[in-house]
Symmetry: C2
Subunit: 268 residues, 2 copies
């Protein structure tokens, strides 16, 4: 669930401290998820705990169970949570496809940047649905690398960006999954699903977005697959590096950058 | 300014009457443009008057001068405006690049779906800037065909979509211009430019968007370039038609569709 690629990209994001809080990814993606006091929340695929900390901050009275298949990631998650004073989250090594919890054990399920890494996302959602109580909600957040477009759009930048999509596909994931959030929730049996796209846009009038999102989140995420992409024969080193240099220009004086996240909420 | 392609696409849109007003393109793109009573507004490239009617409705006390280079389009615009009771718009055949107005004649300039058809968009903006008074605003609205992504994403659907982009490029336009709104405004000398992306998203839970936007606006726009795309050798008829059939699936039970418009406002 947590490849090197994943950890690199999203741990980098965590180091980002943007000046304009209203425009941060955290605000954009998480501010409308608040769980009531006492509610039992399952965070599936918590990785290194980047979202756990946010969940805990927004729902300080909820009881969060955060699981991941990687013990190594969970160790980092525990350390991070402890460092940030998280008191209402418990961490457990568990497999989404083989959950040890009883039927209807949780009031809410939260899954963020996880389905993109799974070969069988509907099966994962159905497994999570089993442990959700009737009437409870599932919240799914995913990006979509196919939503990305930028200016200037050079051939090298596009090739380098696409190598990111191909690497994840070869690892058995699907980085174009965001657009499928609605049909996936429906196929897994959730009802009343609603999906809201969340867009990130930067130009030179939004320097904090250029810095926080493009230079410090997106480009490091792409750089994180450099070795894999070259080893897998998807792209040569020179083109990749040229593409990275061109991507930096999209955060420059004349540049613009666009990316879309999707947030879906379904009910059991 | 108004190719057959243009007229077909956007006149088709005009026939769309959506049930949920809050989600119409009109609401999305135009609701935040309201000019004060008595202000002089230049609408440059009004085409068949689709936006003139909206401008007039939202700013009934402004004095609108709507120009287009095509007399044929203007005749349709006049007819449409008369039919919808527009009383505050005057229509004139004029060339954006050679405006007969004195410097600083207008309080506001409005340009919607025009720059995408021009070989020299910055020159057009600079020409419009000349006739704008100091302190006045320019509003630019453009789509970006490269912002489009959908599910299911078949090879034929992507090829057919891309043929739309290529046809417009061969006609001297740039249908990927939306993302450039900010740098274009800056290069033309406008200050305090702000650009806000406006996203259209549809899935099966939003049937009015699937019907009004995907089936009745987007797909007819693509169908409008069928003959040109085939004649220009960009795509063969069988692939194009296959692509159209696949695009209809993006408005089906399992489909999703995404498209981005950009609205920029600059000041002289």
């Amino acid at each position: 669930m947590t490849s090197h690629y994943y950890v690199h990209g999203y741990s980098e994001r965590e180091s980002v401290r943007l000046s304009d809080q209203a425009n941060t990814l955290e605000e954009l993606l998480h501010s409308d998820t608040k769980y009531p006091a006492g509610s039992m929340v399952l965070e599936a695929g918590c990785g290194i705990g980047a979202q756990t900390v946010i969940l805990s901050r927004n729902s300080p009275q909820a009881r969060i169970t955060s699981i991941d298949i990687s013990e190594e990631s969970l160790d980092k998650a525990k350390e991070r949570a402890a460092g940030q004073g998280v008191k209402n989250a418990e961490f457990r090594v568990e497999n989404i496809f083989d959950l040890p919890f009883e039927d209807e054990s949780f009031d809410h399920v939260f899954v963020c940047f996880v389905l993109e890494h799974l070969k069988e996302p509907v099966k994962a959602l159905a497994s999570l649905r089993r442990v959700l109580r009737t009437g409870g909600t599932i919240t799914v957040i995913e990006g979509d690398h196919g939503s990305c477009f930028f200016h200037p759009e050079t051939e090298a930048a596009v090739k380098t960006w696409n190598s990111l999509v191909e690497v994840q596909a070869k690892l058995g994931g699907n980085s174009l999954i965001g657009r499928q959030t609605y049909p996936l929730l429906k196929r897994a049996g959730f009802t009343n699903a609603t999906v809201s796209p969340r867009m990130v846009y930067s130009d030179a009038s939004r320097p904090h977005m250029e810095e926080g999102f493009v230079r410090r989140t997106i480009i490091p995420m792409v750089e994180g697959v450099r070795e894999s992409a070259i080893e897998m024969g998807i792209i040569d080193a020179a083109t990749f590096d040229h593409g990275i240099a061109d991507l930096y220009r999209t955060a420059g004086e004349e540049g613009t950058f666009n990316y879309m996240f999707f947030k879906g909420v379904g009910r059991k």
